[in-house]
Symmetry: C2
Subunit: 185 residues, 2 copies
Amino acid sequence: MNPLIEQLKKYGYLSEKLQEEIAKRTQFFSKNKYEHLLREGQIMSSYFVISKGIIRSYFHANGKEVNSWFGEENEIFCSVLPLYKRRPSFENIQFLEDSELYILSVEDLDAIYQQFPEFNLIGRLLAEEVCIIMEERITSLHTEFAIERYHSLIKKQPKLLNRINLGHIASYLGITAETLSRIRR
Amino acid sequence: MNPLIEQLKKYGYLSEKLQEEIAKRTQFFSKNKYEHLLREGQIMSSYFVISKGIIRSYFHANGKEVNSWFGEENEIFCSVLPLYKRRPSFENIQFLEDSELYILSVEDLDAIYQQFPEFNLIGRLLAEEVCIIMEERITSLHTEFAIERYHSLIKKQPKLLNRINLGHIASYLGITAETLSRIRR
DNA sequence: CGCATATTTTGATGTACATCAAAAAAACGC
DNA sequence: GCGTTTTTTTGATGTACATCAAAATATGCG
């Protein structure tokens, strides 16, 4: 069982041969809490799925860490800028629990695109899905008050509250921990 | 000369046959200032390029119009939700000048994907590009003050200021026209 | 041109959220 | 289990931006 393949299958048909190729190239990692998968400035990139654990993506702005997203089990992720543009990441990806994950590096991904051009369909649908998610996030940041953004988040990722401290959540929402505390009361 | 094909070529090779097929399916429209290309609730969708004119995309939030983006000549655009998910649009696309544009409808696009599977590569790169642009917008809304967002905008679309009134710009920035006026001073 | 309308600016005041400080509560390590 | 560290809450005060009203300016149109 390869969780990456399971996730990719959600976007379309993968032939046996293609599945074998992906399986062959998939790397498995165990990581400890607070380790990093990616640090800003790196170009190393990949699609990946966490089979166990949780991650945050954060970057630095105005001298502070700002969380940009959280990742839970059985979703497919990537760092957009390195994967889609081969440009250095401005974000850091860090494990917030001891975690296990499956990675398909950008080099392996390219090789697969070469060998199985039909895989571009999956890649297209994946990127299109990311667009949808990002559009929601933009609208939320553009028009909602902090409390509405908070409710949107717990609606979309309800388990997050039990796994991640409120300081991290506040940072994702674009407010301080103090404000989040007052909002929740 | 088909401006849509010119834009698509930026993302990769298009065979003669593929270009012919796109050209055959491309529709040309002239539109007057204040006409709409798309209204919220509609599913009708497409990729399109404006050869002359300017557009804004806006939606309704808290009883007000909120501008989500502006489009100028010779860029390829779409409405993400209808095109990528076949879901009703929540945004409206309106011309702010008398305009001319070239459209490839979602039905024609699907037909092309069927007939030329290699076009999925272009579609993938296009969607990936949209992700990059959206990520920047998210970061801007997440961490910047209004004045910084203003400077980002005029850096990225410097001609906008001469073509669009400040109320529209303010709405895009997520502030009121009054605040924008004070910021500019 | 001259009047009507739309846009931009200015001023007074209100509100969402930030900052700083410190207490309270929870989690962690030995 | 107890002390240390981290997280969360509470309070006082500051700031970025909103709201409402109205004046100044620009634009559109017969």
